[in-house]
């Protein structure tokens, strides 16, 4: 049976959300190809993480086991997975377009000599069983659909937050296959000396149901206090455009857009954000969009379900007042 591979990203204790999204789209592609979706779990004695991969849709888990794979590093991972690819010949291999996937997949594709499509936002199988990979280019101004006709596996990195995961089913099981790669220690030249987690608080914009996002229209970093108040009142997370991140008003982890997070909340409230194409790229799939902007012709108004034309410093306090009145 043909196989669609999904690279499982983990930190030795848990599998990343992006991996579950890949298993979601991977299952869909696999069923259209009469193939099965398999997770590639690299590490040292990591079989304890396999059940979670089955729960999110993997039919098979390849356990690629080696002490050299204990922490993520491009060289040993690329060597190990290239050996597994040669041994099992998958049709498709998917990676998250994450700092790990975007480091590993290009090196691997280069070693294998196959095609790799970056940062895909759409993946499908057409009637001719071609694997269509769609991705934004030119800063999101243009979309391109790309195929990899003659080389296998066809490889893609997939933008986090875009694909839907399957509902978790802890009763689902699958087969486990052990693969032991041959890694010459001398081939590992770059050494990871330290892995530092810096995020002050764990915010997960991509999972948020409600987002209140601020842009340069806030005019001062203190503006985020007002957004916090609104977010608190409606149970949301605060995010930002890149302009505010560049100005040092808010941490980079809050940035929405092409070079930040892609978010799909039920409600996105854009406050003082013009709606540059790079920002839209990260939020236009939101369920419902409210834009607060002084300028009626700002591009954000083109994607907003409701546009409120006005000064956010008047509009938001008024919203807060209304919310309090309702609470009454």
């Amino acid at each position: 049976m043909k196989e669609v591979w999904v690279f499982a990203e983990h930190d030795n204790t848990k599998i990343s959300q992006t991996t579950f999204e890949l298993l979601g789209i991977g299952s869909k592609l696999a069923s259209d190809l009469d193939a099965q979706v398999c997770a590639i779990l690299c590490g040292h004695n990591m079989e304890s993480l396999a059940p979670e991969l089955f729960a999110y849709g993997a039919s098979k888990v390849y356990l690629i086991n080696s002490p050299h794979l204990q922490t993520y590093s491009a060289e040993p991972h690329a060597i190990a997975i290239s050996q597994a690819i040669k041994a099992f010949d998958p049709e498709i291999a998917l990676f998250g377009a994450t700092p790990v996937g975007r480091d590993l997949a290009p090196r691997l594709a280069s070693i294998i000599g196959t095609g790799l499509t970056a940062d895909c936002t759409g993946l499908a199988i057409d009637e001719d069983k071609r694997f269509l990979q769609t991705r934004p280019a030119f800063g999101g101004n243009l979309m391109a659909t790309i195929i990899c006709p003659n080389h296998r596996p066809a490889m893609s990195t997939v933008r986090p937050g875009v694909m839907d995961k399957l509902a978790r089913d802890p009763n689902r099981t699958g087969s486990l296959e052990l693969f032991t790669p041959t890694i010459d220690p001398l081939s590992i030249r770059a050494q990871v000396k330290e892995v530092v987690k810096e995020l002050k608080e764990s915010i997960n914009l991509t999972q948020a149901k409600t987002i209140v996002s601020g842009g340069r229209g806030l005019a001062t970093p203190e503006g985020f206090a007002l957004l916090n108040e609104l977010a608190l009142a409606i149970g949301g997370c605060v995010a930002s455009s890149r302009a505010c991140v560049d100005a040092g008003w808010i941490d980079k982890s809050r940035q929405v857009g092409q070079t930040g997070s892609t978010v799909k909340p039920d409600l996105y409230i854009a406050c003082g954000i013009s709606g540059a194409i790079q920002h839209l790229a990260g939020m236009q799939e939101s369920g419902f969009i409210v834009a607060i902007n002084k300028n009626e012709s700002a591009p954000i108004m083109n994607v907003a379900d409701i546009g409120i034309v006005g000064d956010l410093y008047q509009v938001i306090p008024e919203m807060l007042k209304q919310l309090r009145d309702l609470e009454g």
Binding site: A74, E75, P99, V100, R102, D103, A105, P106, R107, L108, A109, S110, G115, L116, A118, D119, L132, P136, A137, F138, G139, N141, L142, A144, T145, I146, I147, C148, N150, H151, R189, A190, Q191, V192, K193, V195, V196, K197, E198, T210, A233, G235, L267, A276, F288, I289, V290, M301, N302, V303, A304, I306, G307, I308, G310, M319, Q322, L323, L326, E327
Partner: protein, 260 residues
């Protein structure tokens, strides 16, 4: 110490306009610029040159006009420049492009350190850097936010989702720069005058010892079969009554349970 910096001339994607009728990009009149991350890569090379001494070569593959971007690099302080320009190189995906650049680096005699921008703003792939590293079989450090050179090793911080990794690699190595790595210097007036008068050398297929089948479209595993302008959502309504907005959000259950 020899440093090669790979740079690309790109259209300024902030100014790209779309033809609403044909649904295509209007490229005319869009200014070409040095890809922003590449300027950070060059700055990293120039800092090493300032501190330890190094020969910094800038390398670009592209059309004749890309020589302008290379001259900008010379005016910032690069020692020499090389443009790869040949019809055979055209239409390449990242596999073919990295193959061409890696072949040119070999033909230049290799380097101790190869630097590139993390990603170009037109293609946005971030693939060419690590693919060059793989083809030269040297270690890579991608998405670097800090870089130090000591005892012929590089030590760099690599941006991750939750923070960073500190990575050490022996030379030769390849590193890709993000915009957080440094602040690129301005062009120097005297160097700019020199650069303007410089003829940037151009190499073609025969100079880099690969065959026509190993570069450009012919060597590309991927094919673009369609391109289109992303559909925008239907425009919503403009509302001025804020209580109506709150009511609508409540009715749609997008906010709610505020009190409960």
């Amino acid at each position: 110490m020899r440093i090669i910096v790979c740079v690309k001339q790109v259209p300024n994607t902030d100014e790209v306009k779309i033809d609403p009728v044909k649904g295509t990009l209007i490229r005319e009149g869009v200014p070409s610029i040095l890809n922003p991350d590449d300027a950070n890569a060059l700055e990293a090379a120039l800092k090493i040159k300032d501190e330890f001494g190094a020969r910094v070569t800038v390398l670009s593959m592209g059309p004749k006009q890309a020589a302008f971007a290379l001259k900008e690099c010379l005016a910032m302080g690069a020692d020499d420049a090389l443009l790869l320009c040949d019809r055979a190189f055209a239409g390449g995906d990242t596999w073919a492009t990295s193959n061409t650049l890696a072949a040119a680096i070999k033909a230049l005699g290799g380097a101790d350190l190869i630097l590139a921008g993390s990603q170009a703003i037109d293609g946005d792939t971030a693939q060419v850097g690590p693919q060059i590293a793989a083809k030269l079989d040297i270690p890579q450090i991608t998405f670097a936010i800090e870089l130090q050179l000591k005892d012929s090793k590089i030590s760099a911080k690599r941006q991750t989702q939750t923070g960073y990794e500190l990575i050490e690699a022996p030379l030769p190595a390849l590193l890709t720069a993000t915009r957080d790595l440094n602040v690129p210097r301005h062009m120097n007036a005297a160097l700019l005058i020199n650069a303007t008068e410089t003829e940037v050398p151009v190499w073609g297929l025969k100079d880099i010892n690969i065959s026509e089948d190993e570069t450009g479209l012919k060597a590309s595993p991927t094919r673009v079969i369609k391109s289109f302008v992303p559909p925008l959502k239907a425009k919503g309504k403009i509302v001025s009554d804020i209580s109506a907005v709150i009511k609508e959000l409540k009715a749609k259950r997008l906010i709610g349970g505020v009190s409960s």
